[in-house]
Amino acid sequence: MATTLTPPDTDDTSVPPADLPPGLERNAEKAESRRGFLIGLPAYAYLVLFFAIPLAIVVVYSFATRSPSGLTVLADWNLRSYVRLTDSLVLAITWRSLWIATFTTVVSLVVAYPFAYYLATRPPRTRAILLVLVMIPFWSNFLVRTFAWRLLLSSDGPVTRILEFVGFANPRLLFTPTAVIIGLVYGYLPFMILPLYASLERMDHSLVEAARDLYATGWEAFRKVTWPLSKPGVIAGSILVFIPSFGAYVTPEVLGGTGTTMLGSYIGRQFVGTASDWPFGSSLSVAILFVMMIAAMFYFRSGGKDL
């Protein structure tokens, strides 16, 4: 049978085109949408069970009570955990996470964009080799790579020695925000490079040549052709870097100190040991998720409208 794919311009399946026999067309389209739904169903069912329901449980826990012994009592529902979100300590940690994540994203974008462009404009053979060279650190374990910086930045490590040699008196990088930012950029740079590369590689480079033929300067051609076409990559890359940086847990634990606690590690602390407070940890999780979704929504919206 000759199955037809749904034409891209018909968004609403319930309205058949006027000039076709309505009954037949509607049946075919119904079968088609049912098929599409069934293909996706296993993934959706899985995500409902292991994502949506766990999310609902966290929301429920955030209204629960912590007993004096540290256990969670699923009764006496209250908003105390949410009131604690405005504690000055929580606000300070949130602000710190925000600027560290923003800084990390900007640095990654500035470094990765020219790099991805360079990669995408190489001849295919060179490109393949360079791409492998990017992939190797990307595939290497995140924790291991973070740990490598702990060795590099430690008081008798190479970076400290070099800084001393250059003339800095008593340089101390480990356990500072700088160390955390270095670790985050190092850890998440491939997440920026790869989407950028994907969108730049797919781009039709004859468009740039056409712009140049029409007397656009290199900068104009970049701004009017390359940048808009690479925007999906920029958005995807920035989200992929910002989000894990904002909720970072491993990096501040390994490279940070007492003064660099970020939201992720603060949440983690609510769930381990005798001082644990699951309802408070849950309300923090709900809050971080809420902020993240709003940020992502704004980002998608502005990215869609901008160009």
Partner: protein, 289 residues
């Protein structure tokens, strides 16, 4: 140098435009080498230090394989290694199939509940690791409580819960990669196949699948990487007995750095590099043959 020249030489004729482009190319190349240095130097330092015989990481005495010997004798490290591999393979297999199906379903069909599913699929990507870890911890605690109450069977967190958790976030990442590939494809090829009376399955196997294959392979490799990479979620959903290798290393790091951890780290590095080389060899044979 030949790398730089090959890119710019044929495209630009000897007019005034050539000069600035060559400068731009040189800056781009310089940036590229710096990025490579940034990416590789820390790894090299780690590898060199793992061969240090001294008990203190920062003090070099002499090269030896001492810490590698100790690592292979360490039963907890070897157990954690096995757990990591089993979890990664299982979660990748399941999430690649489910994620690819979800991507096709969202990109190539239109149905009512699509937008809700779209959101559900994106959330695990957007959500921070720690939030997902907390969610799944509370879920498993709650679910096991209910199971104990209803059936009297006591269940504990371990390999199973880690695998289930990894599938949950990997589905979304696979779907994301495959969708990126699908949306960049011209659907007219698939329509042409349908017009030529190819059955739905034949059109998928002969046209769609070869076209999205790089996306599916990329998604699967991303899933494998993310599974082997994960510390946070595995730490929260693993039990007392079973942990993955990253969780073991993270725990050890909290107590301080040691040369043994250097050796384990290099083992993990070598494993990932073998993975890349292996997957490249496979993909080359497939496309070349």
């Amino acid at each position: 140098m030949s790398i730089v020249d090959a890119g710019s030489a044929p495209a630009v004729a000897e007019d005034s435009v050539a000069r600035p482009r060559r400068t731009v190319d040189r800056v781009l190349a310089g940036n590229a080498w710096m990025v490579f240095a940034f990416l590789y130097l820390p790894i090299l330092v780690l590898i060199v230090l793992s061969f240090n015989d001294n008990d203190r990481v920062g003090v070099w005495t002499e090269a030896s394989l001492r810490w590698y010997g100790e690592m292979f004798q360490h039963s907890r490290i070897m157990g954690a290694l096995r757990t990591s591999i089993v979890v990664a393979v299982l979660s990748t297999a399941v999430s690649t199939v489910l994620g690819t199906a979800a991507a096709l379903s969202l990109e190539r069909f239109r149905y009512k509940s699509q937008r809700a599913f779209d959101g559900l699929l994106y959330l695990p990507v957007i959500i921070p690791d720690i939030t997902m870890a907390v969610m799944l911890l509370l879920f498993f605690v709650q679910a096991f409580d209910i199971v104990l109450l209803v059936t009297g069977v006591g269940m504990s967190r371990g390999l199973g819960t880690i695998t289930l958790a990894h599938i949950a976030f990997n589905i979304s990442f696979v779907a994301l990669v495959v969708r990126a590939r699908l949306s960049g494809l011209d659907s007219s090829l698939e329509e042409a196949a349908a017009d030529l009376y190819a059955s739905r399955w034949l059109a998928f196997r002969r046209v769609t699948l070869p076209l999205i294959a790089p996306g599916v392979a990329g998604g699967a490799l991303l899933a494998l990487t993310l599974s082997l990479d994960d510390v946070v979620i595995a730490e929260f959903v693993s039990g007392a007995g079973t942990t993955t290798l990253p969780v073991f290393v993270f725990g050890a790091l909290r107590r301080g750095i040691s040369p043994l951890i250097n050796a384990v780290s290099v083992l993990m590095l070598v494993g990932s590099i073998l993975l890349v080389v292996g997957s490249l060899a496979i993909s080359r044979r497939r496309t070349g043959g």
